[in-house]
Symmetry: C4
Subunit: 203 residues, 4 copies
Amino acid sequence: MDKTRLEAFSDGVIAVAITLLVIDLRVPEPAHDASLAHRLGEQWPNFAAYVVSFLTIGVIWVNHHATLRRLRAVDRSILFLNLALLMTIVLLPFTTALMARYLLEDSGRTLAAAIYGGSLLLMSAVFLTMNWHLLRNRTHLLHADISPAYRRTVLSRNLIGVAPYLLATAAAFVSPYLTLAISAAVAVYFVLPGTTPDTPGEA
Amino acid sequence: MDKTRLEAFSDGVIAVAITLLVIDLRVPEPAHDASLAHRLGEQWPNFAAYVVSFLTIGVIWVNHHATLRRLRAVDRSILFLNLALLMTIVLLPFTTALMARYLLEDSGRTLAAAIYGGSLLLMSAVFLTMNWHLLRNRTHLLHADISPAYRRTVLSRNLIGVAPYLLATAAAFVSPYLTLAISAAVAVYFVLPGTTPDTPGEA
Amino acid sequence: MDKTRLEAFSDGVIAVAITLLVIDLRVPEPAHDASLAHRLGEQWPNFAAYVVSFLTIGVIWVNHHATLRRLRAVDRSILFLNLALLMTIVLLPFTTALMARYLLEDSGRTLAAAIYGGSLLLMSAVFLTMNWHLLRNRTHLLHADISPAYRRTVLSRNLIGVAPYLLATAAAFVSPYLTLAISAAVAVYFVLPGTTPDTPGEA
Amino acid sequence: MDKTRLEAFSDGVIAVAITLLVIDLRVPEPAHDASLAHRLGEQWPNFAAYVVSFLTIGVIWVNHHATLRRLRAVDRSILFLNLALLMTIVLLPFTTALMARYLLEDSGRTLAAAIYGGSLLLMSAVFLTMNWHLLRNRTHLLHADISPAYRRTVLSRNLIGVAPYLLATAAAFVSPYLTLAISAAVAVYFVLPGTTPDTPGEA
């Protein structure tokens, strides 16, 4: 089975999910008792969450890109693991909006942040599962030049990639700001040049 | 007529429809009389419906993929049958939201579940019609290696694929939960490895 | 300039616009004084408008497809005429929702229907302009086998294609239902097999 | 790394962002004290902003197209600069809606217009940064026929392209209408035939 349409469909879903993040930036209704600056200022969690989730989905897309590049073809199991991954990515506009809405509330902020961290954890866990399956059980679908040593390296990196989101989820019980800060740090770490090898490997 | 743009357009429409499912997951407004956990818990039909409809549209996409792979080219009749199929797929975010909103209501739940089941039935019926037309009337557009026996197999499977959604629709008059459960079972059945042949055939 | 990305971008925009039509189908809030069946029944203009606009955008997409297939390459003028066409297509979810919302109202229904008809008229007029420009001023970008006689045929058909939308717009001042009926008839006419030549030509 | 998927993902994101502009065109609820014509008339800033932002994102897409056409391949730094560019483009439906909502308000209009101008400025500044990086630091990824003189020309044009948005942002403090007018003028200037060379170069 050809992988071109899988890429096209995944790109489409990820592109829509990343763009839907803007829907959570709301235009405040004009009000007499507060200036627009003040009301936009109150929305700072939404703007911060927009940047963090946008970069995070962008990093997922780059990693997804890298994963599919290693494959010569796909089979049914990969189609459906990929679908599970997309299902967790499409959740992110919701969990982002939830975390942002409750970050400044007294009640609910811990749960909202834990759900946000948890959705990133789920996404990275499904990504790890997908790669584990590809690199362990579907070696006949990989490009011939991918060595066992390289496969182990990729898997180690994927395994390590789950850890910060485990931390971000746990951190919600200390402070929801910490969840947001750790998620931001992960995204920036992956975006910064030189912190990970350019190619081959996960971004 | 080349089939590349038909695939690209269909992938785009299906990708947007599957992603719009997230819009029905609502961030509850903070309230004094109920915790966030409680209010999210009340939304469980929306989360369940999200998973079921996401997997269902994913299965449709895989099957659509399989259908177009059998074709060398497309003609006008295929373009418009495909358009009818897309029209039923794009309805699903609406019927999903309707079913989820009324699942816990005393009044309207039967109708809402019947409409949800009915929209899946309609979608599978249009898919059957499209395949019937392709495999019966447009054999000159199929790849040369597709045998009459194989064509009969695909059509039988498509015909059988309509049955569970007929059941899911009828089940609404017994219990709306049953409609949701049958729809979930169908999606999981198609996703589970080994329950259907990998290739060739419908996923 | 290569036309592949123009096709991909146009397909993306049209795919999103056609899918956004579903957003105008609203889940009624549960109410004590009216059954769900009654409240969905009141929304029939939205369902009718969904079908008509979905088929109409589908027909546009098929025609757009046919237009770009005649080209070997594109230049700047085509990029921007195409952008103007997309701008009128993206308006349709709004004008569809407007017409549907006011169809059963005493006040505003004429204007809403005229705007709906007018948006279809605008779209077909821009499409005619784009084809006029391509077939008259950009013959060096057309495939070599496209004869002057064929070019005249396409332009005549495009010119004739504007007429029903002129009629649909004017009909709003007689009855808004007439606008909807004419728009539906145009879409069905293009979709019906055998009413227009399969290839070459506009769908 | 192949640039095809980068193009496809960028096209998808830009296509969704440009189409989401229609969401800010609202269907007025029927009211007894004002005609539909009057209420749509009050929304003229939304319609004007729709046209200006649609053309602007269209111009960005054409320029993005031109930028990637110069490249033979992409690396990690380009992926992430492109992601930053997309993040500023996806903001535009929000800043467009904000500017339109406050254009006729006494309070907040200056800030809203400055944010709109500022978001266009940010977008053009990131675009300049991306091109600067490509044309200065990534010359090995460019097509071989791109001369140093041509690279300087492109960079000068990109540098000049930032200026009108600097002006549009500053103009908000004189009049928010001026911000809208300058942004409209920039879009029309790029769309008008003959004002910039067709190829090669930025649109």
